[in-house]
Amino acid sequence: MVNWVTLIDISLSGLGLGALYALVAMGFSLIYKVTGVLNFAQGQIAMVGAYGVVIFGTATVLPAAIPAWAAVLVTVLLGVVLGLALERVVFRQFIGEPVLSVIIVTLALGSILEGVIFFLYGQNAQAYPEALTFGGQLSLPLGTSIQAAYAVAVAIALVVVAVLMLFFRRTVTGSILRASASDEQAAMVLGVSIERTIALAWTLSIAITAIGGILLATSSGGAAVSIENTGIIIFAAVVLGGLDSIPGAFIGSIVVGVLQELGSYYLVGGTAVYVPFTDIQANFGAGFGEILPLVLLLVVILVKPYGLFGTERIERL
């Protein structure tokens, strides 16, 4: 018999995880939409964001720590600078190059960022400064509960998503971004500077991804290398939602988050469900929760490659 309170609990934390993934996924979609670059380094950028707070907020690398809120601010600024620098130094060289080159460049970039983090911290998890760790549980109606750290991270993530949506809908800069994403040449004719738009897109994308990384770390109490895996899991989200759809990325992330949490609880270890009408436990072994979204990804690519909201590509000779 299914325990409904547990099911709601798990689904809630799945929704929350999805909201956290949504930031990284939206960073990915944004840059794909505007520049056509498929960024395989999203996971590593999120990891840099997560470890950035550790670098500035604790005295592990730098001689002295700065207050936690300042560390977060500095890390987001670092994301902005990183975005500008990457666009200027790396990705500008590869405009008009084949897809392969760009994909390999992002992979190489990911390995560079990963190498730097491993150089600084090894593969160990690092605790966040006191001010950013929230203990305890938050009770919700129907007897369900959610961890406080998680709730805070999710709340901030939802606020960021809402602000982003408003930014795209309500501001001139936002509509410029949308315009250049939908038709670059038409936007140029109307007087949009594509160069500046692309720089803006990179900045925004990497800043959001870094915030996503920080929140993912906050929700689990500290930065860990496993945040890197986000980079692969969000592919499931963006492909499901349609690669070039930002709302699709959000919805895909929610689905993926719920799937991952349900998978980790009901298909792994002692809590695994029983296969109907038998007494075999459907235990797929540790880590299957993260695999489940990828299985979904493979199914989506086989069945409906352009996702729920993506535009189908029409080819001409």
Binding site: V105, A108, S111, F284, E290, L297
Partner: protein
């Protein structure tokens, strides 16, 4: 080499050994790697063996990526599949060649399976689906003890003395492994060279250039893509099996996305779609990696930091610089220099 085009028929134009210089180079150069292990130390021999094995894997990647233009990011997973299959077959005493062949076949089968989406989508969707395969293999499948009945355990030791077929022709010394890897590498290099010169290879290239045009011209794009996946997957699987046999011990940690990236560095550095490029890339990158590793280890001891973790940083930087400066690889750059010298002092 004379100046200008001197070929009068197709056969001599397409020949592998076309000039007298090349004939002499072949006669002088070919015996060198066969004599080398008797002159070099054990460490260098092992390093070269590993380079040959990686060359087979990179040649396999070259068939899929360089010829057919499909971006596969599951190099580590394919090698792992080959290595674990080989290990299991060696454990029951099947002998090396059958074990390698079956490992390659299973690898090819998985490669074809993950090539199936290419029926409907192209380009980066294959990159995403194979990246998912790599992640599944690396983070779950091969480290999952519950699945030991399939892969036989995350860490396995391979027997050090193995017969080529059954228990006939036992080999196990460093020199034996070196020669085996060298011969297999030469076989696969010839295979790829001939593949690129014959109809299949040209079909692959047509698909690479523009698959829509190719299909309009009557090429069965889907079938040929799967064929490329099968051939490349087989070679990568065999390389994985050899790799396991050479170090005598396999662990899921060897076959990560880092390995995939390393092979991409090798292939792109040398030159995509060229056998000599792949071989050159493997040679140079293996040597550079060896020196870098020594240097970083020294630095790590000296400063007490985790300097060895910086190796991927160098690789990442190399790959970005190569792609920005000479996207067709070092071999194409050398070709430009040769062309310039050939016609010097005239512009053309």
């Amino acid at each position: 080499m004379p100046c200008g085009e001197y070929f009068t028929d197709y056969e001599s134009r397409m020949g592998l050994v076309r000039w007298r210089t090349q004939k002499i180079a072949l006669a002088v150069g070919l015996p060198i790697p066969f004599i080398a292990p008797f002159l070099l130390g054990g460490g260098t021999t092992t390093l070269l063996t590993q380079a040959y094995i990686f060359a087979i894997a990179v040649l396999g990647l070259n068939v899929i990526l360089g010829y057919a233009g499909e971006i596969v990011l599951a190099q580590g997973a394919f090698m792992a599949i080959g290595a674990y299959s080989t290990s299991r077959l060696l454990a029951v005493g099947a002998g090396l060649f059958p074990a390698l062949a079956v490992g390659g076949l299973i690898s090819a089968l998985v490669a074809v399976g993950f090539g199936l989406p290419s029926f409907r989508v192209k380009g980066f969707y294959i990159a995403i689906s194979t990246l998912a395969l790599q992640f599944i293999a690396e983070e779950w499948f091969f480290v999952n003890s519950q699945l030991a009945f399939i892969h036989g355990g995350t860490t396995q030791s391979l027997p050090s003395n193995v017969g080529l077929v059954g228990s006939v022709g036992t080999l196990g010394t460093t020199v034996d492994k070196y020669l085996l890897a060298l011969v297999l590498m030469l076989v696969f290099a010839m295979l790829s060279l001939n593949l690129s010169r014959t109809g299949i290879g040209k079909t692959f290239r047509a698909i690479h250039e523009n698959d829509l045009s190719a299909s309009v011209l009557g090429v069965n794009v889907f079938k040929n893509k799967l064929l490329a996946f099968a051939i490349g997957g087989f070679m990568i699987g065999v390389a994985g099996g050899l790799f396991g046999f050479q170090i005598g011990f396999i662990n899921a940690e060897y076959f990560t996305i880092g390995l995939t990236l390393e092979h991409y560095v090798m292939l792109l550095f040398g030159g995509l779609g060229r056998v000599w490029g792949a071989l050159l890339g493997v040679g140079v990158v293996t040597l550079v990696q060896d020196y870098l590793n020594d240097g970083l280890n020294f630095l790590a001891d000296l400063t007490g930091t985790n300097a060895t973790a910086l190796l991927p940083v160098f690789f990442g930087a190399i790959i970005i610089v190569v792609l920005a400066v000479e996207p067709k690889g070092v071999l194409a750059g050398l070709g430009k220099i040769k062309e310039y010298l050939r016609t010097w002092p005239f512009a053309y």
